[in-house]
């Protein structure tokens, strides 16, 4: 078997999720090649070459890959796809954007967001917002898979793969990057943080999230939110944890003022330890929490911050 992993990066750093996708590739077994498509990405290629288990890195640096436009990235992946039995990428907004294009051009199905590798052709994936887990088997000639990063433990950095330059494919010329607004934060990124503190409708407004930020900074935690808090306009939508937001699985998840709707649980129930702070003792979040504290969050948060 021969596996092609498409790396995720921001042109300067390799995203940690790539190491989890390589871990999924290692479970399938076989030669692992990592493809880096970007602009001025030599240092990213070097980081990828160090990932444990990677045999080869294909590097393609060109203007048309700077913003990972799906039309161009998919064309490049297809140009390099010959000979591979599996093509993997992270189930991030970037991977979800270009991978189905790759699958369709190769005339195969994509298996989306796998959470386990059962064998080289059989995988588990969540359906119905995680209310059911399907085991699916593919008899396509090439398996095109996106991988939920939090379901695989990242590989280490003990590799020494060779780096080869890959020829670019001409810009498809149908799409162009216009602008990007990225949230700037000193806190860790939600999907890779060891501790996540999230607020819900109970926070009442955006200003009150300051209470969460203070606790998060004491813990070195990332800050998330429920869909209710996002819909109410308390915080921007890239903080949303849930079925239609981000999927997180930290060591410790602290849900504050979150009732625990299915939608939210789908995004955090694989966390190792869950803490819920809510004044409603009937809130469904307590059914999944390891430690529940029935308290008014406006009392509990300052107390928690002071005690840490």
């Amino acid at each position: 078997m021969s596996i092609l992993v498409i790396a995720e990066h921001n042109n300067s750093e390799l995203a940690p999720v790539t190491a989890s996708v390589v871990a999924a590739a290692a479970q399938i077994g076989g030669e692992i090649t990592v493809l880096i498509a970007g602009k001025n990405t030599a240092s990213v290629a070097e980081s990828a070459a160090k990932l444990t288990g990677v045999n080869k890195v294909l590097h393609c640096s060109a203007d048309q890959y700077e913003h990972a436009l799906a039309e161009n990235v998919a064309a490049l992946v297809v140009s390099a796809a010959s000979g591979y039995t599996h093509i993997l990428a992270a189930a991030t907004t970037s991977g979800k954007n270009f991978m189905p294009r790759v699958a369709a051009i190769l005339d195969v199905e994509q298996i989306s967001e796998i959470i386990s590798v059962e064998s080289a052709d059989t995988f588990k994936r969540p359906i119905y917002a995680g209310n059911a887990i399907a085991t699916v088997q593919s008899n396509d000639s090439v398996k095109v898979l996106t991988v939920r990063g939090t379901s695989f433990d990242a590989v280490g950095n003990e590799g020494s793969a060779t780096i080869e330059e890959l020829a670019s494919v001409a810009d498809a010329g149908v799409s162009q990057f216009i602008s990007e607004e990225l949230a700037v934060s000193d806190r860790p990124e939600l999907t890779s943080a060891g501790i996540v503190v999230s607020g819900g409708r109970g926070m009442q407004n955006g200003d009150n999230f300051e209470l969460l930020y203070k606790v998060a900074d004491k813990l070195g935690a990332a800050v998330g939110a429920s869909r209710a808090a996002v819909d109410e306009g308390f915080v921007p939508n890239d903080m949303q944890v849930g079925q239609t937001g981000k999927i997180v699985a930290p060591e410790l998840y602290i849900a504050v003022g979150i009732s625990g709707q299915i939608q939210h649980l789908a995004g955090m129930k694989d966390s190792k330890v869950i803490v819920a702070i809510n004044k409603d003792e009937e809130a469904p979040i307590f059914q999944v929490a390891d430690y529940g504290l029935v308290a008014d969050l406006f009392d509990a948060l300052p107390e928690l911050e002071a005690a840490l």
Binding site: E251, K272, A307
Partner: protein, 250 residues
């Protein structure tokens, strides 16, 4: 400009689905079905573009069981002009659906195709991208804002770190995210009117597309359940448990 909106009939998003005892699938017997929420947003967006004078006609297409006519009629009540129903005996895979939609695109020649980013049953998030690949069109997925200007469309996309804006040459494919719009309520007089709008009934054979599935579902299981833990009485007790019992704080 004509806008094509593919819609899917799925289980109502308020229903908590259960797995069948034999683990062959989820149990959808007597479960309320509805239009996929992201498809509803797609219909609303297309109808708004028509109301703004950007689009001239909105065509809705659904692929699935014959009862999907309900979802097409509902979309017509929102404001779609006509519908195409392609009935399949078995559930069609994403790639098959994309191939059927490609055939519809060739027939209808829309300037824009707006789809939901994912359906809430299979949660794949791939049909729009596959259709874009098969037609060679540009794609703007997870859209939170769509602006048509001349022969191009600007799409603000929700991405992991924030927002990305891309410009796409028309014809193009757009998939909707939750915050693109809030679909209107369907009014009774519009439901009555929708019953008289034209609906074309087709089969995959009419488009010479073979319904095949190269991915088979071996088993469907309930997810591992978490046990409810304990209630603590104070913040101090909580910190003590996290440090000394769970050992997730040092």
């Amino acid at each position: 400009m004509k806008i094509l909106v593919p819609v899917k009939r799925v289980v109502d998003y308020n229903v908590k689905v259960r797995v069948k005892a034999d683990h062959s699938d989820v149990d959808l017997t007597n479960v309320k079905m509805d239009i996929n929420p992201f498809c509803d947003i797609a219909v609303e967006e297309a109808v708004r573009l028509k109301e703004q004078g950007v689009a001239t006609e909105v065509v809705v297409v659904s692929i699935g069981e014959a009862k999907a006519e309900e979802q097409i009629r509902r979309s017509m009540a929102i404001g779609a002009d006509r519908g195409i129903l392609i009935t399949t005996e078995q559930a069609a895979s994403s790639l098959t659906v994309a191939k059927l939609l490609k055939a519809v695109v060739e027939q209808e020649q829309p300037g824009l195709v707006i789809l939901g980013k994912q359906s809430i049953d299979t949660d794949n998030n791939q049909t729009g991208q596959m259709l874009a690949a098969l037609t060679g069109m540009a794609q703007g997925t997870c859209a939170s804002k769509v602006t048509v200007e001349g022969d191009s469309v600007q799409v603000v996309r929700e991405i992991d770190g924030g927002l990305q804006t891309v410009g796409l040459k028309l014809p193009a494919i757009v998939t909707t995210d939750l915050r693109l719009n809030e679909p209107r309520y369907v009014k009774l007089p519009d439901i009555m009117k929708a019953k008289r709008k034209p609906l074309d009934k087709k089969t995959p054979a009419d488009f010479s597309v073979e319904v095949k599935n190269t991915v088979s579902t071996l088993k469907v299981e309930p997810p591992a359940q978490r046990e409810a833990g304990i209630k603590v009485g104070s913040v101090a007790e909580l910190i003590d448990k996290l440090k000394n019992e769970a050992k997730v704080l040092s």
